[in-house]
Amino acid sequence: MALNRKKFIDLFIGNASNAILHKILEKAVEDEIIRKYYDKEFLNSFELAKKYREKINPISSNLPEYSEIKERIMKKVNNELKIRISKGYKNIDLNLVESATDGILSQLRVS
């Protein structure tokens, strides 16, 4: 049971991080049509994160590991973004990470 919980939290963190990363990176895409198209990609990762969240108890109230989950997601997203910035990727706003993380965690009843 403990292993399952850890597994689902890891999968949740992976997909939530991907969704946030998508949200931030798609803002760096100039083409309007392509940006609209990538909204759907965000939805896919978000739906997967939601699916894994539904397997972690308590389902309908906040998770006790909230701070740890938030910290791990932010670390993952920041690392990915910093790699890109160091390679010359422009228009990436690191200030969006915390608010985007809070938004997703609140939507998925983690916090």
Partner: protein, 260 residues
């Protein structure tokens, strides 16, 4: 079944349909009836692209899908549903439509109607073309399809590295969560990464080309990945990580230098 026809006429608070007093059984006062637009049912001859044979029951399903979505500009059915047999996970539908639509609602309705899973992507024709120009998986998806109307695609590959970066991200989870992921998810991620690899090398992208490259580059049979029975996990992961790293490097270099 007896049917009556009428015209909608304008009322004060509500509009109405008048039917004759002298009418067949089944139309008594208080009986529930269905009112639906009377349009000529056009005979649909689906366009098959790279499909040799489709089981009769699938043909019936395709016709029913086309008739349920007759408001759309075009309907494209693609994915594993078109493979021989009944091993498909869901039915992939690309709905070409210029207006905003709740595709999740269509998925839910179809799920109830057919008892099958559906994956609907609703988009307009321009967005589809943009997808084809920049998205290797769209090219794979549209290498085999059934559509309601004939499709003419005129596009040139456009390598937008920022887009490819987003695509590649979908394959990252396999390295982070290998032991937890189901076979179909692993296969989807490998397929996505290989499609990017073929796209960057200006190679033809089709389901067959992807499977053949999975076998060659990742040194594993696609069927084994799907069934989550990877024979040599360490070799597969090693090749997967190597290709991911190489592609990521090319993509980030491309982002720096701009779109091709």
């Amino acid at each position: 079944m007896v049917a009556l026809t009428g015209k909608i006429s304008k009322g004060t608070l509500m509009d109405q349909v008048y039917i004759p007093k002298d009418r067949p059984m089944g139309f008594e006062i208080g009986m529930p009836v269905v009112v639906k637009p009377l349009t000529e049912e056009e005979e649909v001859k689906p366009i098959h692209c790279n499909i040799e044979k489709l089981e009769p029951v699938k043909v019936i399903i395709v016709q029913k899908i086309f008739s349920e979505l007759n408001f759309a500009d075009n309907i494209i059915i693609t994915g594993s549903f078109l493979e021989s047999g009944f091993q498909f996970n869901d039915i992939d539908i690309l709905l070409i439509y210029n207006k905003k639509i709740d595709f999740r609602k269509i998925e839910q309705n179809f799920n109830k109607l057919f008892g099958l899973n559906f994956h609907v992507i609703a988009l307009d024709y321009n967005t589809l073309l943009k997808g084809l120009e920049t998205d290797p998986l769209y090219q794979a998806m549209l290498s085999r399809y059934i559509s309601k109307k004939r499709l003419i695609f005129k596009y040139k590959n456009k390598i937008d590295y920022k887009i490819l970066d987003l695509h590649l991200l979908k394959s990252k989870q396999l390295m982070d969560n290998f032991d937890y992921l189901a076979g179909n998810l692993k296969y989807g991620m490998a397929r996505n990464m290989i499609a990017i690899f073929l796209f960057l090398n200006n190679k033809k992208i089709s389901n067959e080309a992807i499977d053949s490259a999975i076998k060659k580059v990742l040194k594993e049979e696609p069927i084994n990945i799907k069934e989550n029975v990877i024979i040599n996990k360490s070799i597969f992961l090693q090749e997967y990580k190597k290709l991911y790293k190489d592609l990521f490097k090319i993509i980030l270099k491309g982002v720096k230098n701009g779109t091709q």
